[in-house]
Symmetry: C2
Subunit: 133 residues, 2 copies
DNA sequence: ATAATCATTCCAGCAGATGGAAGGTCAAGG
DNA sequence: CCTTGACCTTCCATCTGCTGGAATGATTAT
């Protein structure tokens, strides 16, 4: 299985697969001509990676997850710990984004959006106090 | 006003201020000894930048906002357009994060989190179908 | 005079890829 | 047999937005 097939199977771009090899997330064999040769296990790893990344796990978290995946003596508690940590970070980010969204929308509500130069958004960005909602 | 004072006034780290100079967001004068010399207008720009960045505007958006800020013939509609675009992107990101959060939490709910190796999270990452909520 | 605290520049690196150049390989068609 | 096109390879640069550190110069305080 060459890289395009592996890409097809996993949904990851060729470039990304090569990148994942350079950082040691996957280690396909090579054929005589130097082409990568992906086994089924390799493409499983890639699919796993595509999904874990899709869920927002960092590369290092993915590495840990893959290692747990390959470790039959793992405890699911360890996996859960990782995932819970990730969930907490997602919650933080969502909260941050929502706060920011609130401020931005409040500013937008106060901006006329007409041909004149007066603008509550610019005023607030430039003005004395903190950016208020 | 040297760089540390400007940092104090704007809340931006020295490094960031230097960086902003290299990318042309601010252009402080220099004193005879080569030190940067920030005018009040410079520190205003920096404060403006600190706030706009704090609201999540990209550097290029900040550049545009600053240019509108300095343009007395601006129309507030233009500012509003920029801010609305930013708001839309924030909404997209929030929606994405929330979808992702939902999936992750559903997986977590199905993971025992005990000493055994069976784990719904790993199963789902590895398994045949899409990662389901 | 000297030490501490500024300031300067430049280079490297973070995540996580992505784009492109320069070149090797392979299968099909004329 | 040769060419064309579609693959594949490596390596280097780029993106965002800084941040850290090294090496060096200037100012200030003792």
């Amino acid at each position: 299985m060459n890289i395009s097939d592996a890409s097809q199977a996993s949904g990851l771009p060729n470039k990304t697969i090569r990148y994942y090899e350079t950082i040691g997330l996957v280690a396909p064999a090579r054929t005589a001509n130097g082409y990568r040769d992906f086994s089924d296990a390799d493409t499983e790893r890639l699919t796993f990676l595509a999904r874990a990344r899709g869920l927002g796990f960092s590369i290092e978290e993915c590495r840990a997850l893959l290692s747990l995946y390959n470790d039959t003596a793992r405890s699911s508690a360890e996996v859960k710990r990782l995932a819970n940590g990730h969930l907490a970070r997602i919650d933080d980010r969502i909260a941050q984004m929502q706060a920011l969204r609130g401020t931005l929308q409040a500013l937008l509500a106060r901006c006329q959006g007409d041909d004149g130069p007066d603008c509550a958004i610019l005023d607030s960005l430039a003005g004395g106090g903190p950016v208020r909602a």
